[in-house]
């Protein structure tokens, strides 16, 4: 039996080793060497000494934060409403459906919607508001990014809400708690694991959305993803590109630590 289990574990271990551990080691290796494979910390020094990179990091962080915030703002009520609906599977499917469409296609669709002769401007035109430049603004970028990420936030929140025992909610209202009190002290803390994984699933990719920054943001929004693309594809300076990758991983770890620590605090409060 034990041998069997090891056998079953083998593909998984191979996968993890080849496609998770090895790339991470490679990235770290590249970031710690120069073009002639000599060990150096020069790349990190360059990152933290130049104002450009630090500002880009701050930019990335800020936009990712905004995108995550708006996602949460839309997704949580949506997930909560979903749990009260009749044909939940059907509604859930409608939310997941857009993820079946290629990301690039969705971005191009938004170019059509936001352009000067697009739907939004035609609608505004009905009220005599002349064509407004929506493309290439912060609004357009955050809107599209939020739209694209919403399904990945709704799903985990919905799942964690579904797991809450309905008896707990009944008990809460039996004991005289108002809807808001039930929400604050029962639903929100119990659904936190879903919110947490939603935040992680969105914040981290949002740090390096380089395709949208060009297509929708017109390179007026520059994030670390833009820099990674430049270093790997244009200038072939893999060492610096890998350094930015390592810093993105570090940022991600910080976010994970921050979000999971909050949970413990809540538990003590209760």
């Amino acid at each position: 039996m034990k041998k069997n289990r090891l056998l079953f574990l083998l593909p998984y271990l191979l996968w993890i080793g080849l496609f998770v551990i090895a790339p991470l080691v490679l990235i770290l290796g590249y970031s710690l060497t120069d073009a002639h494979s000599h060990l150096t910390l020069q790349n990190f020094a360059a990152f933290f000494s130049g104002g450009t990179f630090l500002r880009m990091m701050a930019n990335s962080f800020w936009y990712a934060l905004l995108i995550t915030f708006f996602c949460l703002l839309v997704s949580y009520p949506a997930a909560l409403a979903l749990t009260r609906l009749k044909n939940q599977q059907f509604w859930l499917m409608l939310i997941i459906l857009p993820t079946w469409i290629n990301l690039l296609l969705k971005a191009y669709a938004f170019i059509g919607i936001f352009s000067r002769s697009g739907m939004v401007n035609q609608f505004l035109g009905l009220f005599g508001i002349g064509p407004v430049g929506i493309m290439f603004t912060d609004f357009a970028f955050i809107f599209v990014a939020t739209y694209i990420e919403i399904p990945f936030m709704v799903m985990p929140i919905y799942n964690s809400l579904k797991e809450i025992d309905p008896a707990l909610l009944s008990a809460s209202s039996d004991l005289g708690a108002s809807f808001w009190q039930t929400f604050r002290y029962v639903i929100w803390p119990l659904s936190w694991p879903g919110v947490e994984s939603g935040i992680q699933a969105i914040f981290i990719p949002s740090l390096s959305l380089f395709m949208l920054t060009r297509l929708i943001g017109g390179n007026r929004v520059i994030t670390l993803g833009t820099a990674v693309e430049e270093y790997f594809l244009t200038t072939m300076n893999w060492n610096m590109g890998a350094t930015i990758g390592v810093i993105l991983i570090a940022l991600m770890l910080i976010v994970m630590l921050l979000t999971s620590r909050k949970q413990h605090k809540k538990e003590i409060e209760l």
């Binding site: 073009a35 450009t52 500002r55 880009m56 930019n59 170019i111 352009s115 000067r116 002769s117 430049g133 493309m135 290439f136 060009r214 297509l215 943001g217 017109g218 390179n219 007026r220 520059i222 833009t226 820099a227 430049e230 244009t234 200038t235 072939m236 300076n237």
Partner: protein
């Protein structure tokens, strides 16, 4: 468990079917089997008049297999792999330098090409192939300014410096390329587009920062679409792209500033993978035939380096200063030299910084 197994099996079967189908399609559309009568051409998509291929086949009896790529880099990788025996390819100038350096090209003996004499002198002996041993010019073009005459008076923009004018605030689209945009700034101050002096580059970047307010966006291929949709008044891009825009919107015009600009080439080369040299030479010579070159130039809309062909073009095209600029401008045009990687990095870093701070 049974359900999962049968589902997995079904997926596997469908994938297998699709794979076999794809194989079938591949083999029926030519593919890797090459015989003495085949000529495999590797070119950009829609970059030749298909009638010319038919004509060549009829004239010589060779069977042409035409495969396409969408970027120089993709082409480079396939030629390097050597899986397909490409007899001819059409890379751009800088890629010719790279292919040469990596020993992926065969020499071309121009004495075997009776029509080589028609190529204009100003298009020969360029830095990527000083002795014309490896490549034959196919089309050429420039970097320039497109504008929409609905918003910008015709002839109002003549030089690069016009783009810095306050009245174009938020109306300019730039192509997302460090070499081109830094080059634009350099040339506007009288420096070379191949300048490697760090001080000059810094000054060029500082000048670029001043255009920041006028820049609406820095985009790639979408620039064409935005210009046609009237999203912006002005764009900085290549003549090849301009042709496409002007076909779709007669209000769009193209200018090459007389101060100078980039001159780019797409040239025919014979890669090391070539199996049918005889046919390759015949095809190059066929395309250099003035009548054929003119027909091709009319179909594609790019500028031909074939001076005899140019004379055969309709007067409106031949005298179009947008695509056949006067000699006084042509002599100021520069081909990009292949810079050392540290300089490429410097160009790109400065450009990235410009993009970062351009918004205010």
């Amino acid at each position: 468990m049974k359900k999962i197994l049968s589902a997995a099996l079904a997926i596997l079967l469908v994938s297998l079917g699709l794979y076999l189908g794809a194989q079938q399609l591949d083999s029926s559309s030519g593919g890797s089997a090459s015989s003495k009568k085949d000529l495999i051409i590797y070119n950009w998509g829609d970059y030749i008049d298909p009638d010319l291929i038919t004509k060549f086949e009829k004239q010589t009896g060779y069977h042409v297999i035409y495969e396409t790529f969408d970027s120089n880099e993709a082409m480079y990788t396939k030629i390097k792999q050597g899986g397909t025996a490409y007899d001819l390819a059409v890379p751009s100038d800088y890629m010719i330098t790279k292919l040469r350096r990596d020993n992926l090209l065969d020499k071309i003996d121009t004495s075997r090409l009776s029509n080589f004499k028609y190529i204009g002198k100003e298009f020969l002996h360029k830095s990527f192939d000083e002795k014309n041993e490896y490549s034959v010019p196919y089309f050429w073009g420039t970097l320039g300014i497109v504008y929409n005459d609905r918003y910008v008076k015709k002839g109002e923009i003549k030089s690069w410096n016009d783009l810095w004018k306050k009245k174009y605030q938020g109306q300019i689209l730039l192509v997302d390329s460090a070499r081109d945009i830094m080059g634009m700034s350099l040339v506007s101050m009288g420096y070379s587009m191949n300048d490697t002096n760090s001080a000059h580059l810094k000054v060029a970047k500082a000048k670029l920062d001043k255009i920041g307010k006028n820049v609406k966006a820095i985009v790639a291929d979408e620039l064409k679409m935005y210009m046609v949709q009237n999203e912006a008044w002005i764009g900085v891009t290549y003549s090849g792209e301009a042709v496409t825009m002007m076909d779709q919107d007669s209000h769009i015009h193209y200018v090459v500033p007389a101060q100078g600009s980039n001159l780019w080439f797409d040239n025919i080369v014979i890669p090391k993978t070539c199996k049918n040299k005889e046919a390759a030479y015949k095809f190059i010579n066929f395309m250099l035939e003035p009548k054929n070159a003119a027909q091709n130039a009319e179909y594609i809309g790019y500028s031909t380096p074939n001076t005899a062909a140019q004379k055969l073009l309709p007067k409106s095209v031949r005298e179009d200063k947008q695509f056949y600029p006067p000699m006084s401008t042509v002599k100021n045009l520069e081909v990009y030299r292949d810079l050392p990687s540290s300089k490429v990095q410097e160009y790109n870093d400065l450009f990235l910084e410009f993009k970062m701070y351009a918004r205010n």
